[in-house]
């Protein structure tokens, strides 16, 4: 490839409609400092709790036939907490776009439906992933984990697919609601319920029967189990959960695409 051709491809990529969508999404998701602060706060509070009281109090738990350090057990819940907060930001951003009638402005530009959906999903997934990894990074500064390299790779893959799935679920929720107040209330109530109705900070066996039943239908359970099994046992145990989360992501993306297309036809 000649340098000119390379430059031409880079230029066309930079100025494509998908790049424009990603540029906008990046600004929307990163410039709102209030949302970012709200997304980081719960994870920081949990970290503080673990670093001080809870890990000393509980010490060890039994999981998958092994006795493990409580911090190892709880760190996936920390990632999921950060993931849910970031997903809330993403869902709210989609709703605000509709509320401000920006959808009309966007479709006035030369923009393909596929580029819009791809760009939006890609940037929002990356934001959720980065925020979750940031939470992991902070946890690493506080705690020490002795996982082999393969387990670390499984944690990263698990975090990535869980980010995709929760991004899809929250975007779908935002695309289905029509009332902003109901959406805000729902999304803010749903996040803690999902987190605590899952084996996040306690093993499933220790949960109340009703919560055990709820946790079965709770996607957070599968996100946490995927990352936890990846960290403790590697890819061998984590891949079925990864497959399930990828399936959730694929289905929700299809539904989001359908919902956004149906909505744009009525603009």
């Amino acid at each position: 490839m000649t340098p000119d051709a390379g430059r031409s491809i880079r230029r066309s990529l930079l100025h494509s409609d998908a790049a424009a969508v990603m540029y906008r999404e990046y600004h929307l998701l990163t410039r709102n400092r209030t949302n970012l602060l709200l997304a980081i706060t719960p994870s920081a509070v949990y970290l503080l709790l673990f670093a001080t009281s809870l890990s000393r109090l509980i010490g060890h738990v039994q999981y998958g036939g092994q006795v493990i350090d409580y911090t190892e057990f709880a760190v996936p819940a920390l990632l999921l907490s950060s993931m849910l907060a970031a997903s809330t930001t993403v869902g709210t951003s989609l709703f605000q776009e509709r509320l401000g009638r920006m959808d009309i402005e966007l479709w006035s530009h030369p923009l393909r439906r596929s580029s819009y959906i791809t760009g939006k999903i890609l940037v929002s997934t990356v934001l959720i992933l980065v925020q979750s990894l940031a939470a992991l990074g902070v946890a690493l500064m506080v705690f020490t984990f002795h996982w082999p390299a393969g387990h670390w790779a499984a944690v990263l893959c698990g975090t990535a697919v869980a980010s995709m799935a929760f991004n899809g679920l929250y975007l779908l929720l935002a695309s289905l609601f029509t009332d902003f107040q109901r959406f805000t209330v729902t999304i803010n109530v749903v996040a803690p319920v999902l987190l605590f109705a899952s084996p996040s900070f306690y093993p499933a066996a220790q949960m109340a029967p009703v919560l055990q039943w709820l946790s079965w239908a709770n996607p957070v359970t599968y996100g946490i189990t995927c990352i936890r099994d990846g960290a403790l046992f590697g890819f061998g145990e984590a891949w079925p959960w990864m497959f399930l989360l990828l399936s959730i992501a694929a289905i929700t993306y299809l539904l989001i695409g359908h919902s956004l297309m149906a909505r744009s036809a009525e603009l």
Partner: protein, 314 residues
């Protein structure tokens, strides 16, 4: 002359509406023309703008902008269209300048190539300092001016303006008029413009497209519409109050409307101008003294009300 916009039997039906928002519109707009789009609330003006800029697709019929379908293939035809939407859409949580940068990206423009022109426009519209603020902090007038600037990025060949003057003060409106006049003269930009200020369209547009219930009512020059449907009127002030009834009797023709108020008689109807010399001669012969005569030129607003009725908010 080239056609900027060509609509053929254009229909738009929304699921939530019982009737068509746009109902079989056929018209064309010549390149370089400045056209006013008039209609009562709910007449289909905004839907028509959205169809022309490719935001929504027709349920039936077709619309072409410079020979291309704006809604097809990612709407490459949209590159040449600038739109000011009525709803004033912005990413409110971003600085105003970021909204312009993002719009430039969507139009495939490099910011450094257009920065100079953007700075000129910002200075001309008095937004050069406000542009760094978060968009939601701007006033209604500032938002409207920012919207006009955004629509002008990339020097569009077709400019669609849905209520660009709403929320602007007199100065702001005049700035918009001056800018549109400059665009038309320098670049031959075609403009389709809706406004609730009928006199603004009468003053600035070569032709006016009047729609009602999604259908075309008239498409003609404002002066022709005013002449044909505007209704001429003459206000005669009489020297003696008791002469008003005698004068009214002289005017007893079915095509004329006569209103008497004190010493004043108002006569309106299409033939008033032609009738005035005869009327004055007859009045003089009967000894009816007329102090003053005020002749009111027919306006587009009168024509509009005549054509779409007065029962709507215009």
């Amino acid at each position: 002359m080239n056609q900027a916009v060509q609509a053929r039997n254009l229909v738009k039906r929304y699921k939530s509406m019982q009737r068509n928002a746009v109902d079989g519109l056929t018209f064309h707009i010549a390149a370089g023309a400045v056209i006013g789009l008039l209609g009562p609330n709910g007449a289909g003006k905004t839907t028509l703008i959205k169809l022309i800029c490719g935001v929504t697709v027709p349920s039936q019929g077709s619309v072409e902008v410079f020979g291309a379908n704006p809604a097809a293939h990612g709407g490459a035809a949209k590159r040449g269209i600038g739109v000011v939407h009525q709803s004033g859409p912005f990413d409110m949580m971003l600085p105003a300048i970021d909204n312009l940068r993002i719009a430039a990206r969507f139009k495939g423009l490099r910011w450094r190539d257009i920065r100079h022109r953007v700075d000129e426009l910002l200075a001309a519209f008095g937004l050069d300092t406000a542009v760094s603020q978060l968009t939601f902090t701007l006033s209604g007038g500032e938002l409207k001016r920012l919207q006009v600037i955004r629509a002008l990025l990339g020097d569009p060949s077709l400019l669609l303006l849905d209520e660009p003057s709403a929320g602007l003060d007199v100065n702001g409106r005049r700035q918009v008029w001056a800018l549109l006049d400059e665009l038309r003269r320098q670049y031959g930009t075609t403009v389709l413009w809706t406004s609730h200020y009928v006199e603004e369209l009468e003053r600035n547009c070569q032709q006016v497209l009047i729609v009602n219930h999604g259908r075309l009512v008239k498409f003609a020059a404002p002066r022709d519409l005013a002449e044909q449907f505007g209704g001429h009127a003459a206000l005669l002030s009489l020297a003696r109050p008791h002469d008003t009834n005698r004068l009214a009797a002289l005017l007893g023709q079915p095509e004329l409307q006569v209103t008497v108020s004190g010493r004043r008689v108002e006569v309106s109807g299409r033939d008033v101008r032609a009738l005035l010399p005869t009327l004055l001669t007859a009045a003089r012969a009967l000894g009816i003294g007329i102090d003053t005569i005020e002749y009111r030129t027919p306006s587009l607003e009168d024509a509009f009300l005549e054509l779409v009725g007065t029962g709507h908010d215009t």
